[in-house]
Symmetry: C2
Subunit: 371 residues, 2 copies
Amino acid sequence: MSRKTVGMINIDPLQTGGILTPEARSALLQWGDGYSICDFCPGTLNEIRTPPIHDFIYGALPEFLGTDHARVTNGAREAKFMVMHAITDKGDSIVLDGSAHYTSFVAAERAGLKIKTVSNSGYPYYKVNPEDYAQIFEETKKDTGKLPTLALLTYPDGNYGNIVDAKHVAKICHEYGIPFLLNGAYAVGRMPISAKKVGADFIVGSGHKSMASSGPVGVLGVSDEHHEKIFEKSEFFKVKELELLGCTARGVTIMTLMASFPHVVGRVNLWDDEVQKAQWFSAQLENLGLKQLGDRPHKHDLMFFEAPNLYEISQRIKDGRYFLYKELKNRNIHGVKPGLTKLFKLSTFSLSRSDLNVVIEAFGDIIKKYA
Amino acid sequence: MSRKTVGMINIDPLQTGGILTPEARSALLQWGDGYSICDFCPGTLNEIRTPPIHDFIYGALPEFLGTDHARVTNGAREAKFMVMHAITDKGDSIVLDGSAHYTSFVAAERAGLKIKTVSNSGYPYYKVNPEDYAQIFEETKKDTGKLPTLALLTYPDGNYGNIVDAKHVAKICHEYGIPFLLNGAYAVGRMPISAKKVGADFIVGSGHKSMASSGPVGVLGVSDEHHEKIFEKSEFFKVKELELLGCTARGVTIMTLMASFPHVVGRVNLWDDEVQKAQWFSAQLENLGLKQLGDRPHKHDLMFFEAPNLYEISQRIKDGRYFLYKELKNRNIHGVKPGLTKLFKLSTFSLSRSDLNVVIEAFGDIIKKYA
């Protein structure tokens, strides 16, 4: 039951944006007990004023997301499903980018939607072309007799960390009158982003991935145009919103999100430094014979590497494909999945240059050791 | 951002079963960071072996619930919605007991179901008669041309703490071939309960309400007959279960649930003591002129009181209906909602007799003070 990676340098993209702030650690202890936040419940989570959940949900959060309305959810995937379930009917179509996270597919399947994808360009850049959305909208209409009910873009995607021109996608969606959902699970809380500036009708973020919160928790921003449908209320219990099942992140998860929020609002302003650090790190690994796939120059901390030299080593040594994981572990580094050597992703977010230097030197040492 | 009720005697029914064990407090700190439990993710939450989530979900949990299959969910309401969404179609009917929690209504509304209710007997006992399920099934068939697709019983209900003969309800459901869901949000983790012994197809529990866990988290038990439909997998990602959106309680919430679990398994065996304590407490408050509504003798720690004497006081003093809340607060007691004097609920679960004596004496003092 103890966490084995405590104290290690963790470069797993799932982990770098979710490390708690000291304020969130304090919130954990204060609000750990079950339904602690409901001590002074006035009928629904969003209205709780002690602690100040109401002000967060109706004030700070929508401002941060650049949306008219916002809610805290049990996660980004749950927020995506809420939108799909509320504004589509079974049998409708949805368009996803070909680099979409598996949860976008699964949420759409759960909502009974036909899924169409905008392919990416494949190896080595995996680019999604905004113009292709128009083509897939037309194809969908031709195939099903009806335009899709929703379009989604992953910004950035969770494999290559690619940043697509979301404004361009939004413009095309609006030309077709198709609501546009921006999945910012790796953006919101890491980099500056505003749904209004992009032109997105919906924006989704992940607390545990990118907002220094305990899991699972997410955020959902909704434009005025769609908010009545998304936040439709119960016929029997007038304050309860159906898609939220009344209340969502009713516990310690929302408290860590709120406790870390001031820090998170501040850190997105340091995004340029994060991008520079990622590019510097990528260049160092490329000097060692690895190749960074996806956007070049890269514009996000999440990066995907191809390592023919490490793969070649794995083919001829006793530990086989587990050698890289073990060698990194011996050097106090976690985050490259056990068994991977040829293709793997990692993240430099919020890690110091000195910690990243340890990682770079580790890769160098390992390559030299097996040369 | 600090919790104002820390250190108080908390008799709020939402709170008494969710207080963390020392083991869960330690888990909070170990696993607080975002996606910490996914350090060694093999593809899906249920399969994680470090920490031992796999063994919990496939071994300990279904055994505890008395079911063939079990999952951890984001809460009891999310588990109920999962079942409804998976096994019903929009426009189908569901039968709820008239004492059902609001989340059962809201989940059914979200799933697009017609809701029929089995009325309770009203003041003062609020009893639900199992035989009435048959009558409502027949009525539903007459009104809609089709039997309901699902029936639900709240065991106990969240207002009066009444225990209905669930086996009897299960028998009737099976006679009609209608799947039966037992909502045990105030049972699982407090008292011994087995879905198989009851004859329930589904059982739902709440981690933050009754299993000494951080919120939000719940459990779902499913019989073999229904598990393929409930746990249907994605067409695109073969290990991902649609109704779970791949993974549910992916963070600190499941870790507190697991950390407290050995204690919770043990405490349900002390249930007879809890019931005796509740009955003793109820008798003491009745000696002070209050009246306990619902089942008599009472069989659960959640109790509803009518207090004409406290109400009478509230009518003639300056603080009005807030006096009881304030007087209890001054005596370090929390849990009766601000503004209530005539009718309110409370819980004695896991509180010591000496703490409950403080509560009894407080009520006595307050009544005497304003006599």
